[in-house]
Amino acid sequence: MTAPDERSAATSAAPLALRVSHVGKTYRIYDRPIDRLLEILLPGRRRSRAFRALSDVSFEVARGEAVGVIGRNGSGKTTLLRLICGISPPTEGHIETHGRIAPLLALGAGFNPEFTGAENVRVNAAVLGLSNAEIEARFQKILDFADIGAAVDQPVRTYSSGMYARLAFAVAVSIDPEILVVDEVLSVGDELFARKCFARIEELRAKGVTILFVSHSISAVLQLCDRAILLDQGTLIAEGTARDVMKRYHALLYTGSAHVQRPDLRAALDAEVQLGGEATSSAPSPPTTRDDDLLPATHDDVGGNDEIPDGDGACDPSLVCPDPSELPPDGAVIRGIRLVNRAGEPRNRLAHGALYRLEYEVAFTRDAVGVVLGFHFRTMTGVRLSGAFAPEPPETLDVRAGDVVRVSFPIRMQLLTGTYFIQAAVRSLGEQGFMHRLLDVLAIRIDSARTAGRGIVSLLSAPPRVERVHGNADRPTTSSASVPHD
């Protein structure tokens, strides 16, 4: 740590920690490594093909800010971080940094599998730039943080990948950086450890450390970062509050905007976000308070709650499944599937706690017995969350060729913030396979209220209560001190 009072500096005067001006990076692809050497030693003739990884990226980060860097795979995030850390030089442009940078681009650089955890901690800390005295002073703290017990005296090759990550992260954050650059390294290790890492990063942040954070985890970026920048194909296409940029990122992911011509992409994204914003004005909640400030759900009403607005009011055209697929129909065709609000209007941006209906029609082309119609919600990673059949077995339908059946599933949206996919299927319980099945046919996005809890689904039936049962009754039980919210 250099300046003791970085926090106030960061919030008020906001001196720069990092300035990236018109930075571009072209990697050169060499067919033979020796060509790279010859190009250095005998300049003049190109012996390579160019690969443009970044072009004309400019942004600034004030001291004490936490900025998320997001984008799809191959969008240039890691390249950008490597340039900022000084590991490779930019091809053009200029990067200005103020303060000691800790690059967490990979955990455990230089760990030797034959050595014990403790030995590797010392070497790794030295590699990261600590002096011997500094290493000894922090050694115990590092071990405490890693919390791997007696394993520190075992060779690292005997470690699980989680233990390895814990130890490596513990060293990496012990170096007291002024700028911490984290590249998606927290995805290893268990949930508990990830929380601990986050807590440590939050702690550094509270101390005024500037943070640059690459992650694919939406909640991690929203939790940690004030601002975010969005990269796509090497250019910076959005910059702003973490929440806004995340929206654009979603639009990017689910519109397949990669096909849009480059100069149009930004405009296209703006238009999409704009569309959502305009529609909001007709929704019950005013534009300034959408997102976080949607009315908290009151869960005590089993039947759902009429007052809860049913989302942003728009059916966001950008929100589609990236990879819908369909099994060939075998005697039935599902059509007209849609999710509607209570007024019967199609919706795909939903509010936690509100009521909807999932509807579709099935046209049968052959006779069948024991037929059920179903759906389920899945997470983006494919976890089945909830589903149902209609009619509910053992009751079933018997159908004849030419029949058309309409089904409607009433839904009270209990899912929390995130993007989810819906699939629908028709099967005859007596037969193998499905009569028709649509995988990931609809995508929905939930923007849930904070009070609804954490995770994928809320089990709270009402807002939580806490009261002091022992102690000084005069003190108020709660205060509104700002603690980091997750």
Partner: protein, 267 residues
């Protein structure tokens, strides 16, 4: 870091280099039964075999100027240590960039110390052998002469030429896998083109240039002279060797620094 000269850079990162070298030395013992004992056993076996082959079988003789007969194995070893120090450093250095990808790609790391780390590892082994040599010298032959005090000074060109070549080979090794093979050949050639197994006087005059281009040659000649003739030899070749070594040192470093920007692209 990039602009600093070789000595400055090594000095600045010496603590890190020592730590990495200590780890590399220890890495050789990890999991072995005899552990550190090997650092002593290896040169002991070497000394034993040399004594038998070159002393007993080949009946090598190295008459000292004072008429005594020093054990031939000691004479041999005094030259061999230096050539092996060079050879070991350069062999390790040839793979050191490819062997530390994470240092190249993922952390800010003073890569130029990696060949220095190889050198430190080799120095550690050479130092053990050197101490054994002096011990056997005193036990089997005679107390070291006063002239032996010149030894540290005489050795100065060794680290210079060794590091210079190590930087060169390390950088080349990043770009060409063949460097390891080339280095192995080069090191054997160096071994036989140094006056290790023979006295330089034994080489016909017209072939002597083959031996004397080698900056290690005057050092070996000097070391033998102070140990076995108790006097310094004519020093002109040594000063030339010092100058050549210094140039190699600087050039090797410059080559490394110039080419390191491409390491990340090719490994």
């Amino acid at each position: 870091m990039l602009r600093a000269g070789p000595l400055q850079s090594l000095w600045q990162h010496r603590a890190l280099a020592y730590r990495l070298a200590a780890r590399d030395v220890a890495a050789r013992w990890k999991g072995s039964y005899l552990g550190p004992l090997w650092t002593i056993l290896t040169p002991l076996f070497l000394l034993g075999v040399y004594t038998f082959v070159f002393g007993t079988v080949l009946k090598g003789r190295w008459p000292a100027s004072d008429g005594t007969q020093p054990p031939f194995a000691l004479v041999l070893l005094s030259g061999l240590i230096l050539v092996q120090l060079f050879g070991e450093t350069v062999s390790i250095a040839s793979g050191v960039i490819r062997g530390n990808v994470s240092f190249v790609k993922q952390v800010l790391f003073p890569l130029e110390i990696l060949p220095f780390v190889s050198f430190l590892v080799a120095v550690f082994h050479a130092a053990i052998t050197g101490l054994l040599l002096l011990l056997f010298y005193a036990v089997l032959y005679r107390p070291p002469p006063l002239a032996a005090a010149w030894l540290p000074l005489l050795l100065v060109p060794v680290p210079l030429v060794t590091l210079g070549v190590a930087w060169f080979v390390a950088a080349l090794g990043a770009y060409m896998r063949d460097t390891a093979q080339l280095t192995a050949v080069f090191v054997s050639v160096m071994m036989f083109l140094s006056p290790v197994f023979y006295a330089i006087e034994a080489v016909p005059e017209r072939f002597r240039f083959l031996i004397s281009w080698n900056p290690l040659t005057p050092v070996i000649v000097g070391v033998r002279s102070v140990l076995f003739d108790s006097t310094l030899p004519p020093m002109t070749p040594w000063f030339i060797a010092l100058a050549v070594s210094a140039v190699i040192f600087q050039l090797g470093f410059l080559f490394f620094r110039r080419t390191r920007e491409g390491f990340a692209d090719v490994i």
